[in-house]
């Protein structure tokens, strides 16, 4: 037997168990008998080489520290490096594989991670080092990185693929994994590579240079960028080897020479190299059976893996693709679970887990079989999805569609997506408020197909947000080219526009971004049923001077606009044609008004009651705080609109508990309530924290908002977001008040950036002739008003008349 690794060990054991009567000699290059390579890393944390070693079965002859250098197939003997020759009747190659070291300058100064001697060398080098780099972000690379970290080095991982562990997880899982690993303080450089290992004048490793010229400083560099089967002996002996390496074997593990077998990582079985201990052992058993006269075959192996690396559970089982997939993702808790199922959503094909590998145990047995329950139920266990609506519950109030109508569409007509439900029942076609409920019902019926935003992006909004943030993407074109397909639509374009705005601020109509906006954002005004627009200037806290009120009155009068006090404590002017918008806003901006963002998925209003300044019950200045908050968060683009209110005492005249974030004054400070909502599905806000000082309050709101902006779904208001957040309010409190994820500094910085870079969209537009050019009804007749816009009068004001 050539090579004394785990595969050879299993073969020797198996031969003994089968009562093989011949003499077995094992020749191994390493200075010791086979040991448990899977547990190799524990050697660095104190497990001794003896603890790892396998017992040599009695009667086995071993030649340790001896390399085989050639095979003479005619004479049936092998030659060793020390000049010896040994005859054989049956030869087994179990030479394993060698780490792949890319041929870059300086590579000879780097380490590899395969044997006890390799680890000894790394340990010695780490003694005088502060930083380390591991090349390779696969299973072994991460293990090596963890080892360097444990040796006290600041460690970076460089991975060629765009995400870590590309063989076990898909892109979404990779993103979650990356977050875990970065959270542990490791640097991750995915989508990168190696140009050279930099060595200083004294021949010491100084770092690693990536292809873009960057230097990662490190005194220890470890290559773990894949393995190459050690087939050099077989090749030299004229045995058949694979195009990309590996000794070709038949299902009985026999090479092209019937008296030579190959097993383990050096064997190319069924066109595959198996780099896992399990299949290597199976091969050893098949070979032992054949050698002792049996007829066992190796027909491939399950490559499912489940491991815990750097404290993160990662598992993959079965196929990594399928007709349908169902994804459960909680980027906050760092959990990503995806199941692949057949196109009827019944048969499980495979799965990927990061952060929580429980489905591996419970579901792997079902690969290729009918699932015990709808896939979404299996993944979403716990999370709010357990809601079972009664059959007659009204789901879409616009179109009078109830839960059973939806279920019937799914069951009887085979509808599998929201678009299908819309076409079939009309639910969701009017105001769209019920679409999240439609999705939930689809999920409950077992047909939900992942969290893809739309046909152009397979990602959820939160995933896209991370991609944009982490990769520093600034344009839709780049994002869709690299992470999507097609040219986008009315779903993904505004969602991406909002992400870009949240992350980079900047004008929403700048450059290519103009083409991403809904008509409301495109004209910085709300479209009305007849194609006219409404104008809502910001009136922070509802406080307004008589002079400003007069200006609004004059503008409304001069342009003939319908005027109404809104439910948000401000004034809405309706009926403006596009070409009138800049003229109206010129007057408003000159009088000191700003955009109220009534058109944007952004902060709307911070309402206030009159508070302690005037009210006999008031305990704090609610108006002052409301204005401060509105000015701080104005212009913040978010997954959905944001509303707030501040009440000066517990009588709650400002209705703060129906807001996304609401503040109620106390004797000692402020109580902060979050995730309230009026609208389609009212929800009272939950008390997040009590008796905060103004400074603590603002900091907590900053983090609450930024955390929501980062992780919510498209058009998911804070109420729905909090309900879908695993761990709910407690989790939220831990993250933003106790910094359990270590992201608060980031959230704070992001908000500071927003506050520092805010600029009024309307005054910026008025200053830019290019943007103003778009405010015309007809490009070929700029002065002509749209003749289809007609009004009649009612109660002294205008009212649209529709042609039909």
């Amino acid at each position: 037997m050539v090579g004394y690794g785990p595969a050879a060990h299993r073969l020797v054991e198996s031969l003994r168990d089968k009562g093989f009567g011949g003499r077995v000699t094992v020749i191994g290059e390493e200075p010791r008998p086979a040991y448990d390579r899977v547990r190799l890393t524990s050697y660095l944390s104190g497990t001794s080489a003896e603890d790892l070693a396998y017992d040599v079965p009695e009667g086995t002859l071993t030649r340790l520290g001896t390399r085989v250098t050639g095979i003479d197939r005619q004479a049936r003997q092998v030659f060793t490096a020390d000049g010896g020759a040994l005859p054989y009747d049956v030869l087994v190659l179990a030479t394993g594989s060698a780490p792949f070291v890319p041929p870059v300058p300086g590579a000879e100064h780097a380490h590899v991670y395969r044997t006890i001697e390799d680890l000894d060398a790394i340990r010695t080098a780490a003694k005088d080092a502060a930083e380390g780099v591991v090349v390779g972000g696969g299973l072994l690379g991460l293990e090596a990185a963890d080892a360097l970290r444990a040796l006290g080095l600041k460690t970076h991982i460089v991975e060629m693929s765009p995400w870590l562990m590309p063989r076990q997880v898909d892109e979404g899982g990779g993103a979650v994994l990356r977050r875990h690993i970065e959270g542990l303080g490791l640097g991750v450089h995915a989508g990168s590579g190696v140009r050279e290992v930099v060595v200083d004048g004294a021949g010491r490793v100084a770092g690693l240079r990536t292809p873009d010229g960057r230097l990662l400083e490190a005194q220890v560099v470890v290559f773990s960028a894949g393995i190459r089967p050690r087939d050099e002996l077989a090749r030299a002996a004229g045995l058949e080897v694979g195009e990309r390496g590996g000794v070709v074997v038949d299902p009985g593990m026999r090479t092209s020479d019937p008296s030579i077998y190959a097993i383990g990582e050096c064997a190319l079985a069924g066109g595959m190299i198996y780099g896992l201990a399990g299949p290597c052992n199976t091969m050893a058993e098949v070979a032992a059976d054949r050698i002792t006269g049996g007829s066992a075959t190796f027909t491939g192996a399950d490559l499912s893996t489940r491991l815990k690396l750097l404290g993160v559970e990662v598992a993959q089982f079965g196929a990594m693709t399928g007709a349908l997939d169902v994804t459960y993702m909680d980027p906050v808790a760092g959990v990503y679970k995806k199941l692949f199922v057949s196109d009827d959503a019944r048969t499980l094909l495979g799965g990927i887990c990061v952060g929580d590998a429980s489905p591996y145990a419970s579901l792997r047995p079902f690969v290729g079989k009918e699932l015990p329950a709808p896939p979404s139920d299996l993944l979403f266990s716990g999370a709010g999805a357990s809601l079972d609506l009664p059959g007659d519950a009204l789901v879409c109030s616009c179109n009078n569609v109830c839960a059973d109508d939806i279920r019937a569409a799914v069951a009887d007509q085979g509808v599998t997506d929201v678009a299908g439900l819309k076409a079939c029942t009309r639910a969701g076609t009017t105001c769209g408020s019920c679409v999240p409920m439609l999705k939930r019902l689809l999920e409950r019926s077992g047909v939900e197909v992942g969290k893809a935003l739309c046909e152009h992006f397979g990602h959820s909004r939160a995933e896209l947000f991370d991609i944009v943030r982490v990769r520093g993407i600034t344009t839709f074109s780049q994002l869709i080219a690299e992470h999507g397909q097609g040219r986008g639509c009315d779903v993904c374009k505004p969602a991406v526009a909002s992400i870009l705005a949240s992350l980079h601020n900047g004008h929403v109509l700048e450059g290519e971004r103009a083409a991403l906006q809904d008509t409301n954002d495109a004209f910085l005004a709300n479209i009305q049923k007849n194609g006219t627009y409404s104008v809502v200037p910001r009136i922070p806290g509802g406080e307004i001077t008589p002079e400003k009120l007069i200006v609004i009155g004059e503008v409304a009068r001069d342009f003939g606009l319908y005027t109404k006090i809104t439910g948000g404590q401000r004034i809405d002017l309706f009926g403006a044609r596009v070409e009138q918008l800049p003229l109206i806003w010129r007057r408003l901006v000159d009088a000191g008004f700003e955009s109220g963002h009534a058109y944007g998925k952004a902060l709307r209003t911070v309402k206030s009651c009159v508070g302690s300044t005037w009210c006999r019950y008031g305990v704090q200045d609610s108006v002052g705080l409301a204005i401060e908050l509105e000015l701080r968060y104005r212009g913040l683009r978010s997954p959905h609109k944001l509303k707030s209110a501040v009440s000066g005492c517990a009588r709650e005249c400002a209705e703060a508990r129906s807001k996304d974030f609401g503040v109620i004054a106390t004797e000692k400070g402020w109580n902060l309530y979050v995730a309230g909502n009026g609208g389609f599905q009212p929800r009272h806000a939950d008390l997040l924290a009590s008796d905060l000082s103004t400074e603590e309050l603002v900091r907590t709101i900053d983090r609450f908002l930024m955390y929501y902006v980062r992780t919510a779904d498209r058009l998911q208001r804070t109420a729905a977001w909090l309900e879908s957040l695993e761990g709910g309010l407690d989790h939220l409190r831990e993250v933003i008040m106790e910094d359990s994820l270590g992201i608060c500094a980031d959230l704070d910085a992001q908000m500071a950036h927003h506050v520092a870079t805010y600029a009024d969209e309307w005054s910026a537009t008025l200053d830019d002739p290019d943007k103003l050019r778009r405010f015309v009804s007809f490009v070929n007749a700029p002065g002509v008003p749209d003749p289809s816009i007609v009004f009649e009068r009612e109660r002294g004001q205008i009212k649209p008349v529709m042609a039909r």
Binding site: K422, E455, A515, A522, N530, N780
Partner: protein, 110 residues
């Protein structure tokens, strides 16, 4: 019925993936320039709302077909055929459009 071509604007007046509206012999025509430089012209009237607004919708693709979504209630129309892709049987008229030098011309039927 005869057809004539009428210049309506410069190609540069059209931003990629955004529409504009032009008046052609009293008719409102929505013009679109797609990502690949292609030109499309539909009636500006949104048949669902009765408002003349299609030129202000978001331009994109559905399964590769160029589309615009009504800015009012988001129904999606094919820029190539005018067909509504969300509700069968609804279609908006399509007009001929071409590039003549730097000018965009729309076909006028009388």
């Amino acid at each position: 019925m005869s057809a004539a071509w009428m210049p309506v604007c410069g190609y540069d007046d059209l931003l990629p993936e955004r529409g504009v509206c032009v008046l052609v012999a009293g008719r409102q025509v929505a013009l679109f320039r797609t990502w690949d430089g292609g030109l499309h012209a539909l009636d500006n009237l949104d048949p669902f709302s009765g408002a003349y607004v299609l030129s202000r919708g978001i331009v994109g693709t559905r399964k590769g077909e160029p589309t615009v979504a009504s800015p009012l209630h988001k129904q999606v129309f094919s820029l190539a055929t005018g067909r509504c892709l969300d509700e069968r049987g609804v279609r908006v008229p399509v007009h001929g459009v071409r590039l003549a030098g730097a000018a965009v011309e729309v076909e006028v039927r009388t």
